[in-house]
Subunit: 228 residues, 2 copies
């Protein structure tokens, strides 16, 4: 089956207290998205990557990709106003039928193993949404009051959110709604059930300066493991 | 007001894949609980610490404390079967009225600033439960199906869970119930409202090998900051 990773990297990076969008921050001397794109390219020989960047950063993205092995399998497109619109632009580049991975550009530590498991489950069930258990107790807070939630039922959601194209493409053809916070919610809105899969604790989203420190540490560990 | 930190460190550490309970794992050459105890001792001149350890590790705890500045403000007691029983044993050591901080032994990166804020709020409102927002989307999963939760309402709960003794002591005099997963749930069960406060992302719970790596990194950063 054809495979496409739509890597969404349209954020402005304001939470990092940096003027560089976080997907371009350096990790071991290279921008985060270099590693994210590479993880997908290396996961399958026939994986194609659609990298969605803010319009002003497309040229910069091209420079980064120009250095990469397998660059012929990467297409860069300019994103839209919100994540929803960016994914929609990415989907214009794919052929059907296929399995589509929608992935956060700043989750650069995603493993080939997780990508493989998502692929297998999406093929079989139509979708695979990686998620991990919460380490801490969880409460729902509203109007100044809070109540405990059974922690065993809580799942923290990651990406790549992976779907068969015949589910994902129609979902992104509907009108945008407020509640569309990720691909799973977009797909549910057309009446499709989504299926979770076990994610990885290391598959973190780089959103704060601390996360970059963690990623750097993990990244060195992974490199040592590969070279060791 | 008198101040007591009950530091609960009764876990067996099985999740770390280590035969050493995780509260004794080394960080910069010293056991985790050394740093946890020190953080509380240094936060206020009149802070007393009750360190609750598994019975077999009390002697080891005494060796660790023997090296510390302010060791005269530390009491070590043997814990009970569950966290609930361990906290109850710790509470036998306090005088009232006081403000009591109940803290996970493996959250060794807690800051003096958070301890101070918890104290102020507990004095004023009766309780202070530190919590942070979720970075990822959150779902509630049940019977193989899952549904999205409004992320802005989700709070990940940390410690020190801080209370005025006149609220916490009666709460721990009730019978144990299944749903007692932390101090906040124990206090709610006697009909008291609990009050959240903003926690800290760095105030992580060391439960997996990855967490130890992160803690080591953060710990070095903090030391560098202190040393200027």
């Amino acid at each position: 089956m054809k495979k496409y990773a739509i890597i969404v990297a349209g954020g402005s990076g304001q939470r990092m207290g940096s003027s560089i969008p976080k997907q371009f921050l350096l990790l071991g001397g290279k921008p985060l998205i270099f590693f994210t794109v590479r993880a997908f390219l290396e996961s399958y020989d026939d994986m194609k990557v659609v990298l969605v960047l803010p319009e002003d950063f497309v040229a910069r993205g091209e420079d980064i990709i120009a250095e990469m092995k397998f660059q012929e399998r990467v297409t860069i497109v300019a994103g839209g106003e919100l994540r929803f619109h960016s994914v929609k632009k990415g989907l214009e580049q794919i052929e059907e039928p296929s399995v589509v991975f929608v992935h956060d550009g700043v989750r650069c530590l995603v493993s080939a193993e997780l990508i493989h498991r998502c692929y297998e489950q999406a093929l079989e069930k139509g979708s695979a949404i990686p998620s991990v258990a919460a380490t801490d107790s969880v409460r729902i807070s509203e109007d100044g009051k809070s109540s405990i939630v059974d922690r065993s039922k809580i799942r923290l959601i990651q990406t790549p959110q992976t779907f068969r194209s015949e589910i994902l493409v129609p979902a992104y053809n509907q009108e945008f709604q407020e509640g569309f916070t990720d691909d799973a919610t977009v797909v549910e809105a057309i009446g499709q059930q989504i299926f979770l899969i076990e994610g990885e604790y290391d598959n973190i989203k780089i959103t704060r300066p601390l996360d970059l420190v963690i990623a750097e540490k993990l990244f060195h560990q992974k490199l040592s493991a590969l070279e060791g």
